[in-house]
Symmetry: C3
Subunit: 666 residues, 3 copies
Amino acid sequence: MTSLALGLRGLAHGGDYNPEQWPRETWRDDIELMRQAGVNLVTLGVFSWAWLEPEPGRYEFDWLDEVMDLLAGGGIRVDLATATASPPAWLGQRFPETLPVTAEGTVLGHGSRQAYCPSSPVFRAHAGALAEQLASRYRGHEALAMWHVGNEYGCHVTCCWCDVSAAAFRSWLADRYGSAEALNEAWGTAFWSQRYGDLDQVLPPRATPTFPNPTHQLDFRRFSSDELLACFTNERDVLRRHTPDVPITTNFMAHSASIDCWRWAPELDVVSNDHYLLAHLPDNHIDLAFDADTSRGLARGGPWLLMEHSTSAVNWQPRNVPKLPGETLRTSLQHVARGSDGAMFFQWRQSRAGAEKYHSAMVPHAGPGSRLWREVVQLGETLRRLAPVAGATVDAQVALVLSWQAGWACEGPTQPSDDVTYRDRAHALHAALFRQGITVDVVPPDADLSGYRLVLVPTLYLLTDAEAASMAAYVDAGGHLLVTYFSGIVDEHDHVRLGGYPGAFRDLLGVRVEEFHPLLAGQSVRLRGDDGRTGEADVWTEDLHLAGADAVLSYADGPRAGTPAVTRHAAGDGVAWYVATRTDRETTDHLLRQVCDDAGVSAAAAAPPGVEVVRRRTADDTYLFVLNHTHEAASVPADGIDLVTGREVTGSVDLVPGGVAVVQGG
Amino acid sequence: MTSLALGLRGLAHGGDYNPEQWPRETWRDDIELMRQAGVNLVTLGVFSWAWLEPEPGRYEFDWLDEVMDLLAGGGIRVDLATATASPPAWLGQRFPETLPVTAEGTVLGHGSRQAYCPSSPVFRAHAGALAEQLASRYRGHEALAMWHVGNEYGCHVTCCWCDVSAAAFRSWLADRYGSAEALNEAWGTAFWSQRYGDLDQVLPPRATPTFPNPTHQLDFRRFSSDELLACFTNERDVLRRHTPDVPITTNFMAHSASIDCWRWAPELDVVSNDHYLLAHLPDNHIDLAFDADTSRGLARGGPWLLMEHSTSAVNWQPRNVPKLPGETLRTSLQHVARGSDGAMFFQWRQSRAGAEKYHSAMVPHAGPGSRLWREVVQLGETLRRLAPVAGATVDAQVALVLSWQAGWACEGPTQPSDDVTYRDRAHALHAALFRQGITVDVVPPDADLSGYRLVLVPTLYLLTDAEAASMAAYVDAGGHLLVTYFSGIVDEHDHVRLGGYPGAFRDLLGVRVEEFHPLLAGQSVRLRGDDGRTGEADVWTEDLHLAGADAVLSYADGPRAGTPAVTRHAAGDGVAWYVATRTDRETTDHLLRQVCDDAGVSAAAAAPPGVEVVRRRTADDTYLFVLNHTHEAASVPADGIDLVTGREVTGSVDLVPGGVAVVQGG
Amino acid sequence: MTSLALGLRGLAHGGDYNPEQWPRETWRDDIELMRQAGVNLVTLGVFSWAWLEPEPGRYEFDWLDEVMDLLAGGGIRVDLATATASPPAWLGQRFPETLPVTAEGTVLGHGSRQAYCPSSPVFRAHAGALAEQLASRYRGHEALAMWHVGNEYGCHVTCCWCDVSAAAFRSWLADRYGSAEALNEAWGTAFWSQRYGDLDQVLPPRATPTFPNPTHQLDFRRFSSDELLACFTNERDVLRRHTPDVPITTNFMAHSASIDCWRWAPELDVVSNDHYLLAHLPDNHIDLAFDADTSRGLARGGPWLLMEHSTSAVNWQPRNVPKLPGETLRTSLQHVARGSDGAMFFQWRQSRAGAEKYHSAMVPHAGPGSRLWREVVQLGETLRRLAPVAGATVDAQVALVLSWQAGWACEGPTQPSDDVTYRDRAHALHAALFRQGITVDVVPPDADLSGYRLVLVPTLYLLTDAEAASMAAYVDAGGHLLVTYFSGIVDEHDHVRLGGYPGAFRDLLGVRVEEFHPLLAGQSVRLRGDDGRTGEADVWTEDLHLAGADAVLSYADGPRAGTPAVTRHAAGDGVAWYVATRTDRETTDHLLRQVCDDAGVSAAAAAPPGVEVVRRRTADDTYLFVLNHTHEAASVPADGIDLVTGREVTGSVDLVPGGVAVVQGG
C-alpha cells in the first residue's frame, strides 16, 4: 500500500480555493496565510466554468495562470478541478435541453448549481472540451498534483426525468435486458397491467397516479448512477490522455445514497470524500468514523483523502452549530486515524456573498485575528508532525457489508414499514463496535471476507445468489456472521425469495420467518434471554421459527411474546447470528460484546468510554491514534512517541478533555 | 330479498386471481390449492389489459381461455373482469390526451395503475372494445358467474384537470345549469369578481392564487364522480347486451370520498366492497362494521359481497401490521354478519414482484406450509357451514344518514374549523351503538325513514329542502332524530341558510345559533347536565339559544359557559335531539344510551363489552352472529345450533378469546 | 397634522359593501341598517370588475349608479374602488399571458382572486381603462369621498415567475445595475459559476437544483414590490388626473412581508391598513398594537385609517374563533388609540356563498336580531362620541426600526438558523414596552431619530452604510439605542461586512463577534448579571468579545458559559445596548425596564398589567385611551371627560373587565 502520490511530503492540508470570489490583491495575502498555516494542497477552480469560458468556446485562462503560478511560487500543490461541477448560464440558455427536469416535469434552471442533465450529450461535449483545454494548458505545470473532476456528483441532481434522459434510460435498459420480454420479467410488469409491448414505451418513473413499480425505480437509480459515472469518465479519459501520470479524483459523499460508490471507486485513481457533521446528532463523531471507514473501504483498504470537511459551522442545516475549541483538530485527526492521508476543507476563505457565505472556512469572516484561524495554523503544524503516518493501513478484524443497491431497494415504495431505513442498523452495529474500540472495515456484498473474524450484514435487503453463497461459504469455513432483519429478502430484480424469509439466509441462519410484524409508531417490546438478561426493541418483529438455530433472546411481551428475537446458529465451522428486531442501544452493545467474544475480536487498545482508539500500520511501524471525545481527562495504555507533542509515552498516554495523541510504536 | 345469484351453493370464498404473474405450471397447483381451501369464486383479469391486448386491436385470449377452462374444471366460478382498471403502456404513448393531469398541470403517466382521464372518449372507446371482445368470447362459458367492471373507481385518479376534462365539465355544467347566469347564481360568483360571461370561460378548479370557489369545487367533485360512473356504464352496457342474465358489479371503497356511491349503487346488479383494516386504529373492527353497514345500505338492505379484504398485512400503510391468529376468520365473519354473502380477498397468491408484493394473500410467500394458509383453509370450511345464511337480511332499528355530497362540501376550503371532518361524528355515533350491540343501517339523506325507531344525522352540512322536510315529517310522525353540529347549514349549492344556524333544522330542533365557536387545538370544555352528570367535549361549540328545546347538557366552563350544548325538543309526535359540541367517547356513549332508551331501541342480544352481536334473518330462520373481539372468554344468551362448530347451544353460547359463533335460531 | 379629509364629521365607521352579492331589494334595507348603525363610510366595488365590465370594453354602470345614489341619499360617503383587485374570467381566457406563474412553472388561473401577473402590460392597460371609466363617471358624485385602488396588493400573488415578469425583471436590473458586470459583483456570482455573460441571461429565481443565490432572491423581492407599486400608480395617476382633490388609498397589510411599505406609503394620500387577529395567539391585542403602530409609522405619525378588521371570526385560519362580547368595540378602539381615524370592517353583510361566507360581517348570517349586530350599533355610537379625536397625533418617546428589505434578506435561504425570524425580536421588544404602557413609533432605517429618547433596532440584518452612520450619529448626540443579534451583518447587496460581526454596529456597540452559535431545537441557556439577576434565553448565542462595552448579562451555562450575552456601551453622549441572545419574556421585560429607566422613558399613565394606555393629542387637547384587556375591573389615574360614557373622570377612571374609556384632557 503506497500513499496518494500527490508529490506531498506527508499529509495533505488545505482546502477549496476560489480566488475568483476575491480581488486580485487578496491573492498574495492568501499565499502568505497559506504558508503560515502550512497549507500544501488546494483544490482550485471547482466552480470556475463561467469564468474560464464566459461564452461558448471563448476561454479565459490568464487569471488561472496567475493563480497557478502564485501557488507554485508558494510551494503549494494544486488539485486542479475541471470546473464542470456547475455550468455557466449560457449553457441552459442556448441549450435548454441540457437542463434537468423533475419527475413532475419542472425544469430546474440556472441560479444555484449543478443544473445539468447527467445524460445530456451537449453537456458532456462542452464539459469534455473544457477538460481538454485545461489538460493541454496545465499538463506539466509545476503546481499540478491531481485532477479533480466535477464535484459531489449527484448531490442535487441525482436523477433527471427529461426526454433526453428517457432515451438514454431506454438505451441502458436495452443493454441490460436485450428485450422487452426480459425487462417485463425482471420488473414484474404482469402486475397492474404494466407490461411493455416494446422497449420504446418505457419512460423514467415520472409522476404516476400511485405507487410506481419498484424495480422500475431501482433500475432508474442504477441508470442514474451510471450516467453520472459516464460524465466522470468522459472527462477523466480526456485528462488521462494528456497526463497519464497525474492522479485523478472526484469527491464522494460516502454517506449519501445518490450514487453507487462501489461501481465508481475503481474508476478513480484517488478516493476522496467529503464529510460534514450533523449538528443535532449527539454522537456525530461516530457517524464521522462510519463515513471514514466507508471511504477506506472504497479505497480497498488503502489511503484516501478527506477532500472536504468544515473548520466550524456549515450553512445548510436548520441550525448551523460551530465547532467548539479543539474540535477542528480532533475531527481532522479522526479521519487521518481511519486512513485519510490529509485533512482538507471547504473552503479556504469564507465567502462574503452567495448561498454558502455562512459556511465556515479556514480564513473566517472575522479574519486571521480569531481563534478559528489559530486552530487552523495549529492543525497545520500537527499534520506536519504526522507525516510518517502517510500511506499506513488501518487494522481491522471486522467487516460490515454496505450496499447502495440494497439501500435503494430497501427504501423503495410500499415496504412493510416506513421505519425501516437502510443505514439504521449499519450505524447501530458500527457504533456498538466503536464503543468497544473495535475498528470496522466497510466492504461490498461481493467482498472477499476470508481475512475477517467477524462480518456484519445489516439490513442487506437485496443481494445476488452469488453474494449469498459467498457469505455462506465464509461461515462454513469458520467465519462469524451477524445478519439483521430485512436482509436477504429479494434478488437483484427486487423479486422476493419464496418459501419463508429471509430467503437468501434461511438455511445459513437456521430460521424460517412466515410473516413480518412491524410495530406501530412508539410501540416497543421487551426481550429476555435464557440467562435472565433483558432488553428492549422497537420498529420490527417477525413470526420466526427455529430451524436449526438456538434462541439467544426472545420476546417477553408484545405480539410475538415467547418467540425468538435473536438467534445463533452453529453452521459448518462458523457461527451465524440473526437479529430479528430493532434492539435498543444497550441491548445491541451487550449482544455485540457477546458476538465479538465468540469470534475472538478485540479492541485496538483498552480505553475508557468516549475515547477512540485506532491503529494505523506501515511495514515498519504502528501508530495508535487516541482521541478523547469526552469532557474528562483520560489515559490509555501505550508506549512510544506521541507525534502530536513529540513527547515519549511510557505505559500510558494521558489526554486532556477533548485531547488527541498519535503514539508511534504504540 | 334473494342472494347474489352467482350460481354458488352458499357463500362466496376466494380472491383476486392473477395467473399472468406466474408461470403456467403454477396454474394447476393453484387449482388444487383452491380446492383444498374450498374456494368457489375468483376474480380474474382485473389487471390483464396489457396481456389481453398487447397492442391496439390485437387480442390474445389463449392464456385466459386456458385459465377459464382450468377453473371450470376445478368447479370454481369466475367473477370475470373487463380488465380496464389499468390501461397498457401503449394507450398513453399513442394517445397522450388519455393521461390524467393534476390541478397543477402535472401529467400522470404509465408505470403505476389507473393512468387514464375519466372523461377521455379515447379511453372509453378502447375499454368498451375490450369489454366487447370479452363478452362475446366468454358469454356462456361454464365458469362465468359475474362481470367485474374496472376496479376501485376513483381510487387514485379521483378527478382530472386536463383540457379534455375541462370540455366535459363545461358540458356537464351546461346540462346542469343551462346558462352562465344560472351557474353564476349557483356558484355565488358575484364574490371576488368570479362571474362568468359565458360557460366557455369555465375551467376545472385548477391551481389558483388562493382559496377556490367552494361550489365550483363541489360541482367538480359531482362531475368527476359522474364521469367515472359513465366509464362504468359504458362497459356495463356492452356486457349487458351480450349477457343480460349475468350480474355485473364493480368493487366500491365505501369508506372513500372519491365517488358518490348513492348515485352509483342503482347502476350495479351486485354491490361489492373492498375493506382494509387501518393497523394503527385501536377499534378498527368497529370501522369494519361501519363499512359493512354502508355496503348493506348501498345494497338497499339486501345481500352484498365483500370483494376484497386481506388475509393479513397490507402494503400501503406506514407500518403494515399482520393479522393475529384467528383474526382472518373473525373479520371475515364480521362482514358476513352484516350482510356480505361471502368473504373474498386480494389476492390469491402473494406477488413476488411489484408494488404490492408485501400485501398478504391466501397463499403467502412462505407457501402452504404456514399458519396463514391453514387459517385460509379453516375459513373455507367455516363459510361452507354457513351456507344457510346466504340471502338473509340484517335486523336494524336505527338508521344513520350518510351523504358523500355533504362530505365534499363539509370538507371544502375556508370552513370554520379544520378539525371538523365529515365522518368523525358518523363513526362516533355508530361506535357508541356498536358498543351497545345495536346494529345501524346506513342510508342516504332522501331515504324513507318510516321503518326506523331512531335516525342519526351526523354533520349533514349540506342537504336539500326536500330532504330536510322529509326528516321533519319523520319526527312529526313520531320518529326520534339526533342531529350533530354543522348539519343543515347550506343548501345544495353550498349557500348558507340565513337567519341563524342550523338553517334547515332550526325549527325542528327548537334552537337558534348565532355564531359558531370552534375551539383551539388541544382546548376542551366540561359539560354538565341537570342530573349532575358531567362530560367533556372539544373542537366545536356554538352560541346556541333555546327556541323550544330543553337543555340536556350545558357548558360548565369555556367560552360558552352556562349555555346549552346538547338539547332535546319534543316536536310533533317525535323527538329531535341536537348535539352542538364534539362530545368525548364516554359522554357520547352515555347520551346515546339515553337516546336509545327514549326511542325504545335495544340490542340484538345482551353481550359483554367487546363482543359483537348481529342478527341476520331469512323468511324461515334467524342467525345470531357472536364475535368476541376481546382477549377474554365470553358468554352470550342464545339457543339453537352454532353453525361454526355444529354444536347445539342451550341458554348461552360460550366463546374463547377472539372466538366466533353463528347460532341458527338464536 | 390634519385628519383624513374624507368629508366625514369625526371618525369613519363602515365596511366593504358588496351589493352585487345581493338582490336589489336588499339594497334599501342595507341603507336603513347602515343608518341605524351610524355607518358614514363604505368601501364599494372592490371585487366588481366582472360586473362593471362583463366583456372587454363593454361597461355596465347602471347598478353602481343606483348604489352610489342610494348611499348619497342615506348620507353615507364612499371609498370607491377601482375594482381591479381581481380581474374577470375573460382576461385570463383571452390573454393567458396575464396569468401569474409559480417558480415551478404552474400557471395560477381564474377561480379565486388576484389572478394577474403584476408585470403584465395587458393587465395594466385594462385596469387603467376601467379606472378611467370610473373616474370620469363618478368625479363630482356627492358620495365620493376617496378612491380605493386595488386591494391588499401582493396578498396572494407576491411574485410572478412568468416570461413577461422575466423580461420586466431584466429591465429593472438594467436600471439598477447598468451592466452584467455590476450585477455579477452585487450578486456575488463568482460563487457556484453563476456569472452572467449578459443581462439577457438572467431569469427570475425559478426552481433550481438547490439553494438559489440570496441576492438574486432579494432583488426579485424588491422588483416584485416595485412592480405591484407600478400597478398602483398606473391607476392612481388616472384618478388623480380626473379628481385631483379626492384622496387616494390602497389598503396595506402592514404585518405582511409581501411589499416594502416604506417605498409605497409616500405614493398614497391616505395610509390605510387591514388587520385581523390570529386566534391562537394569547396576546394578539399586542400584535394588533404593533400593526397599528406600523400603520401610523407609514403615515409618518399622522392619522391613518383601519380599512378592514372583523366584527368576529374570520374564515382563513385553521380554527376561526369568534370575538367575545365587547371585543369588537375594544379592538376597534385600540386602532383608534394608535392613530386610526376610524374603524372599518370587511364586510358589511356576511356572504351566503363563496370562500368567505364564514367571515363575520357587520350584518351576520343570523341577521340584525343578534348580539353581534347590537355591538356594531353600539360601536357606531361610540365612534360618533369620539369625533373630537379625529386628526390627533399619538405621543411616543421610543422608535422601533422596521425594514421590509432586512426581513427579506434575513429570512433568505441558508442562514445560520431557521429559528431566527425577522419580526420575532421586533414583536418581543414592542410587547415588553406595551406591558410598561410605553407607546412605540415604528420607523424606517433611514428615519430622523433625533426626536426619540430610545431607539430599538431588532434583527436589522441588512442596512446601508448611511443608515448605520445615522444611528451612530444619533447615539453620539446622546441617544439611547438597543440592537439585537443578527443586525448589521450585511450591506444592501447581502454581502457580509467583514472583520467580525456585527459589522455595521461593531464600533458603536463596542463588541466583536467571531462566530455565531445557534442553539439546537429545544436548547436553552441561563443568563446571569453582576447584580445576581438571572434569566433564560434560547435560539441564538454568539462568540462575543468585549471591545469597549460592559457585560450586563453573561451566560451561566451552555456552550458560551462565562462570556457576555447582553452588553452596554457608553458611546459619545449616548448609550448603545446589544442583546446577543434570544432572551425570554421575563428577561426581556426586566432588561427593557432598565433600558427605559436609563433613557428616561416613561409610560403614558400608570396602569395595572393588561390595561393599555395610549395618549392622542391635538393642538388643543389630549385623549387618554384606556383599554382593559383583563377579566378584572381596573382603575387608571386620569382627569377629564370619558368620551365613551360622557361622564366626568376625577382622579381615576374605572373600567369593568374588558372595558374601555377615552378621557379627554386625561
